[in-house]
């Protein structure tokens, strides 16, 4: 029996996978070649989509960037039982350099099978983590997560076990597990890829969290831009329920956990955890001041875990393989693996799950293959729209939370957006301010108004109007936003702006910049004297 895998992943479909699947099925029928077509998730080598895999006997081989012109030769090769002569032949995808250099823990199952097939999930190690957790006490589960060193993959990198401990220790009639699947950062798609390729892993992770802290209800707050993830999660939740992996008395353990997907509505700020909780409650996504922490008063004022998709997914590995196994990956205080996402002007864009510690340069040059345009890389924005733009002098920084913080940058959710030398960094700085103005929740003035002023000031710098004065004004504005904002939206928008100005001064009128900095210095001296 020949199985043909063509991903239903959003990117594969955006590259023509649906049309391709229809043609493959049709031509196979017409030629009397018997195949079973499986719409799997993506393997994460996104530049190769549609990536077709063919399984015959115990052989599973792949072909990359398959299009309509390849279909008849593909069907013939399947009939002959030999795909190795096909022009798009790549061999076993797991032996591909891009795949081999990775340490896949969270994404080990991605793309192997039909994402909502519960039998495949279990056959490939799924639910081993929950099964083990069900035999442990809540405190033992929380301890295991603490020992693993797992930190939040949503951006803030807070230790997950400590968050869970707070929820466990807080009394409450009803506690909640909420999953932050708002994934708004440009350059990131790992949450989407996981939910579209291996949705049960998220469901399992949330169930483990529920058992650990004593929560019986969970919500996945999913951005509305991900309709496929929505559909697959709904199916997976229903099947898990039918098989006793969700709902009452899970696998006879006495634990209950029910789960529901809730859609966001196109607001970036709702990825901030307190804004997300407001939105889940049916309100405007206004950021709350902390304290109280969501762990103590979260959804409907009850103790609530808020974790990113990847954090909750990683918990399944921690429980299945043990804390020690997980924390053996990584460096320093960054333990385990980080799903990095190569995006923008990159030759080999896709998902690269790595133990912390590789340098950014290695990731972009060796794995990513440099730019798609073939021109030199000039700037790399890591960590989404609030992350810094890094110049070449900083590309040897290891991918690790502390090393990035030390250069006023952040890993965030692992997005890596590459720009070639045609980029105008003053436009990128302008966009950072524009985006903040567009997406601010409006609660604090420095963020709401400061960002609008920021756009104006950068426009004046770009047009050469009083450059030096306006550059120093921009510095002041960044200070005000950084120190006067309630959350990281206003507080970190200065990071991309400042990094663009300081590392790429030539894009802001370099000669005048020196004068601008002079001015900042002298005004600072005035203050101190």
């Amino acid at each position: 029996m020949t199985k043909v895998f063509i991903p239903q992943d959003m990117v594969a479909v955006a590259c023509g996978a649906d049309e391709l699947a229809a043609q493959v099925q049709q031509q196979a029928n017409e030629s009397g070649v018997e195949i079973t077509l499986v719409r799997n998730g993506s393997r994460g080598l996104l530049w190769l989509e549609p990536l077709v895999e063919v399984e015959q006997g115990d052989q599973r081989v792949s072909l990359g960037q398959v299009d309509a012109d390849d279909v008849s030769s593909l069907i013939r090769a399947i009939a002959d039982g030999d795909l190795s002569q096909h022009p798009k032949f790549l061999g076993d995808i797991e032996q591909h350099d891009y795949f081999k250099c990775q340490q896949r823990l969270t994404f080990k199952r991605a793309g192997l099978a039909d994402p909502v097939c519960l039998e495949s999930y279990r056959a490939n190690g799924g639910y081993a983590g929950l099964t083990r957790a069900l035999a442990m006490s809540p405190q033992e589960i929380v301890d295991e997560v603490k020992e693993s060193g797992l930190r939040g993959r949503g951006g803030a990198a807070f230790p997950t076990g400590i968050k869970w401990q707070t929820v466990l220790d807080t009394a409450g009639e009803q506690k909640y597990i909420t999953c932050n699947a708002d994934e708004g950062d440009s350059g990131t798609f790992a949450d989407r890829l996981l939910m579209e390729a291996d949705p049960y892993q998220l469901i399992e992770g949330m169930t483990i969290a529920g058992v650990a802290v004593g929560a019986t209800e969970g919500f996945i707050y999913l951005r509305s831009e991900y309709p496929l993830a929505h559909r697959l999660l709904d199916i997976a939740i229903e099947r898990a329920q039918n098989q006793g992996w969700l709902g009452k008395d899970i696998q006879g353990s006495g634990h209950d956990f029910q789960l529901e997907v809730r859609l966001g509505a196109g607001a970036y700020i709702c990825g901030e955890e307190t804004s997300m909780l407001e939105s889940l409650e049916g309100k405007r996504g206004m950021v709350r001041s902390k304290p109280p922490l969501p762990a103590i008063e979260g959804f409907l004022a009850s103790p609530t875990v808020v974790n990113n998709v990847l954090t909750l997914a990683a918990v399944t590995t921690v429980l299945a393989e043990g804390a020690e196994h997980y924390q053996n990956f990584g460096m320093g205080r960054s333990r385990g693996t980080m799903p990095m996402q190569l995006a923008g002007n990159i030759k080999h864009g896709g998902l690269v799950e790595l133990a912390f510690g590789m340098s950014l340069r290695e990731l972009v040059d060796n794995i990513g293959g440099g730019t798609a345009s073939g021109r030199p890389v000039r700037a790399i924005q890591v960590g989404g729209p609030l992350g810094a733009y890094l110049p070449e002098s900083q590309w040897d920084t290891p991918l690790d939370y502390e090393s990035f913080a030390a250069i006023q940058a952040m890993l965030g959710h692992g997005g890596v957006v590459v720009f070639d030398d045609s980029v105008d960094m003053s436009l990128q700085a302008r966009f950072a301010m524009e985006f903040c103005a567009e997406e601010s929740c409006g609660k604090c003035t420095p963020c709401r108004i400061g960002s609008v002023r920021g756009v104006e000031v950068i426009d004046r710098i770009r047009s050469g109007t009083e450059r030096a004065n306006n550059l120093s004004l921009l510095h002041d504005l960044c200070d005000t936003m950084e120190y006067g904002s309630l959350c990281a939206m206003g507080g970190m928008t200065p990071f991309p702006v400042r990094s663009a100005v300081s590392h790429f001064p030539e894009d802001f009128g370099a000669e005048n910049l020196a004068a601008g900095e002079q001015q900042v210095k002298s005004s600072a001296e005035e203050v101190t004297h």
């Binding site: 959003m10 990117v11 479909v13 955006a14 590259c15 996104l46 530049w47 989509e49 994934e183 708004g184 950062d185 440009s186 350059g187 990131t188 798609f189 989407r192 509305s224 831009e225 991900y226 309709p227 809730r262 859609l263 966001g264 509505a265 196109g266 607001a267 970036y268 939105s279 889940l280 409650e281 049916g282 309100k283 405007r284 996504g285 959804f299 409907l300 996402q341 190569l342 995006a343 923008g344 002007n345 990159i346 864009g349 896709g350 798609a372 924005q381 729209p385 997005g415 957006v417 590459v418 720009f419 070639d420 980029v423 436009l427 990128q428 966009f431 985006f435 567009e438 997406e439």
Partner: protein
């Protein structure tokens, strides 16, 4: 029965069915949007009553979120990704092309009501950018020529 009355009955039914859920307002607004294409102002009092909220509160929520429009858009929704990964692959140039080829700016609808053009900030297709979504289907590596092709296909599909 007028079209408007029918619509409000639909709203009524949605509110009836969903008002008991925790944090019911967003799911209700999504359901109304899916059924009617937008959240018409006349729906506000019905939602407010069903959830025991003030009209101002309901209105405040609708206006906060980009997804909820108070008027129906054009027949087709074209969304251009304007975020960084797409910028790195020429989204700004694409935007200029799109605006001139459709003859409208971002946020506008063509005079014949066929196409509304909206911005979007990341569709999760950042490894194969620039990205465009047409009626929620995402397309990868869209340059000017590919965009024109997609719009031509829309026209053909309609006729």
């Amino acid at each position: 029965m007028s079209e408007d009355t029918k619509q409000l009955q639909q709203v009524e039914a949605i509110v009836q069915q969903m008002h008991g859920r925790k944090g019911a307002l967003l799911p209700i607004l999504h359901a109304i949007k899916d059924a009617l294409g937008c959240v018409p102002p006349a729906a506000v009092p019905i939602i407010a009553k069903g959830l025991n909220l003030s009209r101002a509160e309901v209105h405040g929520v609708i206006s906060f979120y980009h997804d909820f429009k108070t008027e129906p858009g054009g027949e087709n929704l074209v969304q251009l990704c304007r975020a960084e990964a797409c910028q790195a692959m020429g989204a700004r140039e694409l935007e200029t092309h799109v605006e001139s080829s459709l003859g409208i700016g971002i946020g506008e609808t063509t005079a014949d009501g066929k196409i509304s053009l909206e911005p979007v900030y990341c569709l999760g297709n950042c490894a194969c950018s620039p990205s465009v979504a047409i009626n929620q289907k995402v397309y990868a590596r869209v340059d000017a020529a590919r965009f024109d092709e997609l719009i031509a296909e829309l026209g053909r599909a309609a006729s």
